[in-house]
Symmetry: C2
Subunit: 422 residues, 2 copies
């Protein structure tokens, strides 16, 4: 059998370390030229395959590829695009096969979260249903940490580190001025469905009484009275109160706090979500001076304070994906498995994609403290190893981190017909 | 003359490096025991002097004091409290003299911004008007960079680095997904009166066309049509648009964008300010998908990405303040003077406090590009040296930075009468 080329694409929300996985995939492919021909990356993810917009990674120098390891965001472009089922949009699958055939692609590496695992699974099935030999391997990535089977998802550890460090720093700021200034500080973090990122804020509390004093999880129904009582008692006790709130914090009936009530003079829903909603409550009911921050993309792009553990794991799953492909695997994902010992250790194991796709891993209730406002010791024991170590990018004369600059040489198109994304 | 003790206080909004100045003051005082007795720090700033709440810094180990250099926020507590004039509140000044006398304090080191320089000046005048010998030295600090005479203010360089790095990282994130997701990203930064911090975002653009594409300064009147046109043309050209907006961005008539119009269903002013206001405009008029971030305290507390130049300067002004005191100076401030050469250099020079107090240094118009949406080459040449170098704090087993833990041993009170702060 002639040597096949490979296709790699980034999918969904990008992270501080998804390019480290790309680096792992590309470097491993280069080390296995006996088995894998060229590695093409989809421009803007799977859309690049559909449009036959393929970036020839072989045109990039080893130095540039190595620099991907410390470059945040999706270097080849990513997209939010979920393939429909084979029945609902056969044309899309036929197009993919057409493009893969034209470029002799036999390996499909898809770097994404739960939705992308589903896409990857569908593509792995093309091999059978459409008679085209293709091995599809999913490379895990999501800041939300909600992929099943794997102990954690690459991308999460770095957001966790950013949120924990930022919470610790901002809490010191508030503490030092609470006598005459701000008494309540709210940091709103990502996590629409699962509270993993908010939980990471809890790591900032290294000893009893440390900030954050309150964490709001999507997993624990918000109770306004209980919340305000806790804010008040915390300010009385410590002089200030630091709150980390998940954007997914919600009432018992499932309404998000972010959507609850506030509209502006023009009838718009008030933007910004949970933090300003909580701030309003606190102002109205308790009258404390407050400040709030919304980290938004800063948190998932913060390569400057990435977790070294996360970077290492992101690279390792990329590399492992290529090795699994060479071993002939299909419809699998390299998962991170935590060792049993007291000291944190991890290894990589193959996970079947049909057990990953479309399954959301929520935070176990026993990772949350009994009162619902913090993390438990069990939660801390799970989270802490994931933010270990710093992996600083190099800085240039400009005083700024120097990230990979790809040439992105496009592969010549072989198919005349263009394909329109709907 | 018997050896006098010294008093040090932190004032106003804290920064990532004000404790580096404290470290400079304390270490220099310890090296000059021949001239300076004990160094007392005011608990929560000048309020600590009024309340006779003095922290005995001699009880802290050299290691703890050294750790202040990498600890953000105000380790001794800070406050926003401006002394009235001698005529308006003589009791306050009499109380200060009473406390200083009781503790044999002859040196007053005040670490703050413009308002604090004014307080420091007033206190320096006590020496003459109230017949109590006291040398008052101001130690410059402000993230706003608006102190006159000094080339820059310690605290600013680190916020500048945080904003430049965050802008660069978030811009990569947006760029990589703009095809199918967010097209406009807005980062709101501090700077109610001067656009220095927003300008620092401009450093992220290392080459033509790089993000940020638009900076909104308080110094340039906001023009909605011109702004929206620029957003639209930027998205057309680059596929996305990154905006750094100063919280002080304002219309020609002086109305802040943050205050303009939006109130929620309960008649509250919409919280959050400039970023959501701009986001609303963009949504309504252009329909682009947007995201926005509000860094708030995270930016001024971000010791994890402090500028090494800033840390060094913050320490140096603290040390110089003590040296000036020993030389018998009064009513002065150690200012940072930029060297004339092409290569950045700096030294410290004494500046008279009466030329500092209550003067706000705005950003020169020629630091801003002609179209008002970016920084000029002159602006870049000024800003870039200030974010040079990284000065990472040590990290512990928890994966978090390890900051100074002060014992804060209080000095025994000598005055029976307590003083109530109004």
């Amino acid at each position: 059998m002639a040597k096949k080329n490979a296709f790699y694409a980034q999918s969904g929300g990008v992270t501080a370390v998804i390019n480290a996985s790309a680096c792992g995939v590309i470097e491993a492919a280069r080390q296995n030229k006996k088995h894998i021909g060229k590695l093409y990356a989809g421009r803007n993810g799977i859309i690049g395959a559909l449009r036959e917009e393929l970036i020839d990674t072989s045109k990039e120098t080893p130095k540039t590829i190595a620099a991907l390891r410390h470059t945040p965001s999706g270097a080849f472009g990513s997209c939010r695009y979920k393939l429909k089922s084979l029945e609902d949009n056969k044309a899309e699958y036929e197009r993919l096969i057409e493009v893969f055939k034209a470029h002799n692609i036999g390996y499909f590496f898809y770097n994404g979260g739960g939705d992308s695992a589903d896409t990857c699974l569908k593509i792995s099935q093309l091999s059978e249903t459409m008679g085209y030999p293709l091995q599809a391997i999913h490379v895990p990535k999501t800041v939300d940490n909600d992929l099943p089977f794997t102990d954690n998802s690459p991308g999460f550890g770095s957001v966790a580190k950013y949120v924990a460090v930022s919470t610790k720093e901002a809490a010191l700021d508030v503490e030092s001025m609470c006598e005459t200034s701000t008494k309540v500080f709210i940091l709103e973090v990502m996590g629409r469905h699962a509270g993993w990122i908010a939980a990471a804020g809890g790591l900032a509390a290294e000893k009893e009484g440390d900030a954050p004093h309150i964490i709001l999880f999507p997993e624990v129904a918000f109770n306004k009275d209980k919340f305000l009582k806790r804010v008040k008692s915390t300010v009385k006790k410590h002089g200030f109160c630091v709150i980390v709130a998940s954007e997914g914090a919600q009432y018992k009936d499932g309404r998000f706090l972010a959507d609850a009530g506030n509209t502006d003079a023009f009838g718009h829903k008030q933007l910004g979500g949970v933090a300003p909603t909580l701030a309003n409550m606190i102002k109205d009911e308790l009258g404390y001076k407050y400040h709030w921050a919304l980290a938004d993309y800063l948190q998932r792009a913060a390569r400057h304070i990435a977790s070294a553990t996360d970077v290492e794991q992101a690279y390792a799953v990329g590399k492992a994906a290529v090795e699994m492909a060479i071993e002939g695997k299909n419809a699998v994902m390299p998962a991170i498995i935590r060792g049993k010992g007291k000291k944190y250790s991890w290894s990589i194991k193959e996970a079947p994609l049909d057990q990953i796709a479309n399954v959301e891993k929520m935070m176990p209730r026993d990772y949350i403290s009994k009162d619902g406002f913090g993390i438990s010791e069990k939660g801390r024991a799970y989270l802490e190893p994931l933010i270990q170590g710093e992996d600083y990018p190099p800085y240039g004369k400009s005083g700024l981190p120097q990230f990979a600059q790809l040439k992105k040489v496009m592969v010549e198109k072989k198919i005349k017909k263009s394909f329109v994304i709907k």
